[in-house]
């Protein structure tokens, strides 16, 4: 009898503990959103919510603040980085899960996962010392010289060939998010039941046909989840982007030119903000970033529910 009472008490205490901890996590998220919203309230009041979100000037001296260039910068860099990263990530996942001999698969999988463990400042440094000179000397300079001779009108769009700008930022960002997309896709591919594969082999399918007609469709939910995670990561990535993108508050006008994302803007200006409206505007940008991430996750969850197959189905 004793043990039963103890068991019941233990169960209740454990349930209570779980509820408290779970609520605490939710409370932190709510407080975070509240803090950003109230900190940004002054900016939203001054320019209006839509006015602030769509304003394209960011000028601390004139006290004019609008988030549109940074919203656009975030959307463009993350979308392009995802577009660049998706196929290599998926190809790596397929190669690891379906084609490579086990020892090689393990080595490659480990290396790809290691990419996710590198601090982003290391990516930033690598970008500055390796990628930026490469982009400058191999891509931007030849283009610039070519346009100087053949199409002078293009020169203004291209800007000076510095290597610093959206292109470098996007390339590094793409590299950084490959492991996120790849490892979830890999797990999803591993989870495709053997009898599904065998059923297609038994119809006279080659290995690639099995991958294309059975494995990828079955794993699509997990593959998509990886894409979402990678996108979320790209939207929020701060350090490496700040180091490479050039931090221009103007509307991004070319892939070669400098730009800024919401995250890089905050990292760049927060320490030197004069207080008052500028600080409030930065917090307001933070709030918009939160809303964007939330929107991406909600939309993704909605799509994921429709895509998932088999055990993963909700």
């Amino acid at each position: 009898m004793r043990s039963r009472i103890y068991g019941k008490l233990g169960d209740r205490a454990f349930t209570a503990l779980l509820v408290v901890l779970g609520l605490a996590v939710m409370l932190v998220a709510v407080l975070l959103a509240w803090e950003l919203a109230s900190g940004g309230a002054e900016a939203f009041r001054t320019f209006g919510f839509w006015g602030f979100a769509s304003g394209s000037a960011w000028n601390a001296v004139a006290e004019q603040f609008g988030a549109w260039p940074f919203l656009l910068g975030t959307l463009i860099t993350s979308a392009v980085a995802l577009a660049l990263a998706f196929l290599p990530a998926l190809a790596a996942a397929i190669a690891i899960a379906e084609y490579a001999p086990r020892w090689l698969a393990e080595v490659v999988a480990y290396l790809i996962d290691l990419l996710a463990a590198l601090p982003s400042v290391v990516y930033g440094l690598w970008g500055i010392f390796v990628l930026v000179p490469l982009v400058r000397d191999r891509i931007e300079q030849p283009l610039f010289l070519w346009s100087a001779e053949h199409a002078p009108a293009l020169m203004g769009v291209l800007g000076p060939p510095t290597g610093i700008g959206m292109l470098s930022a996007v390339l590094v960002l793409a590299l950084m998010i490959v492991p996120y997309a790849s490892s979830l896709a890999r797990d999803a591919i591993h989870m495709v039941p053997r009898d599904q594969r065998e059923a297609m082999y038994a119809l006279g399918a080659t290995r690639w046909e099995v991958v294309r007609r059975v494995v990828l469709p079955y794993a699509r939910g997990g593959i998509f989840a990886g894409v979402v995670l990678a996108l979320a990561r790209a939207i929020g990535e701060t350090m490496a982007v700040t180091m490479l993108i050039g931090n221009s508050g103007q509307l991004p006008y070319s892939v070669f030119g400098p730009a800024a994302t919401m995250a890089s803007l905050i990292a760049n200006e927060f320490a030197e903000a004069e207080g008052g409206l500028q600080l409030s505007s930065l917090l307001a940008v933070g709030f918009l970033l939160l809303l964007l991430s939330l929107a991406v996750n909600l939309i993704a969850d909605f799509i994921l529910r429709r895509m998932s197959v088999g055990e993963g189905r909700k």
Partner: protein, 253 residues
Amino acid sequence: MEPLRMETENLTVHYGKSVGVRNVSLPVYDRKITALIGPSGCGKTTFLRALNRMHDLNPIVRIEGRVRLDGEDLYAPGVDPVAIRRRVGMVFQRPTPFPTMSIFENVVAGLRLVGVRDRERLMGVAERSLKAAALWDEVKDRLHEPAVGLSGGQQQRISIARALAVEPEVLLMDEPTSALDPISTQAIEDLLAGLKEQVTIVIVTHNMQQAARVSDYTAFFLNGDMIEFGPTERLFTNPSDPRTEAYITGRFG
């Protein structure tokens, strides 16, 4: 003498260092049903999977001996296992509908592989295969709905229709009713009798009554050896090996 469709000669299947099937020589007669029976782990499924080179997918498996289809050795150098599997189809223990495909797409999946696009031809094949699998009347109004919405018995008949759609010469069935309820089992047993007019069938079953009901020939396996082979009626009424007799009278297994 019945015409042969397949035969094995001294077929041995190694799993790494252990042996799954030892020295089995078995004839498979044209358009007959051959049943493989025996207790769990006796090697009957291992033997079956050697007949369409499904073991190729597992690198630790090694095959010795011959498997002939219409006289050609399936394991001779230069033989493409993909081509073999188009001629020797397979139905598995558990129904395996492709969950992202409709009923129709499931049935014609094998034809899609060989690049058939003609809608009318695909529809014709789907109808014929589903009729052969005794499923047409149940699904004809919802061909474009997901196949996973069907019952287990219907899903297994989808798997059979899918295997039949590519017109294999031989159909291998690995305990096709063991995951099904009695009514679905009955439905599948009933359709086997009709199927054997078109296709040669080798069926693995753990259910002796099923073997006795549906098959023309029966092979009894035990511990990786084929103990006895013969016409089903003779094997069940007058087994020549005492181990066969012990098994069919229920003394083990």
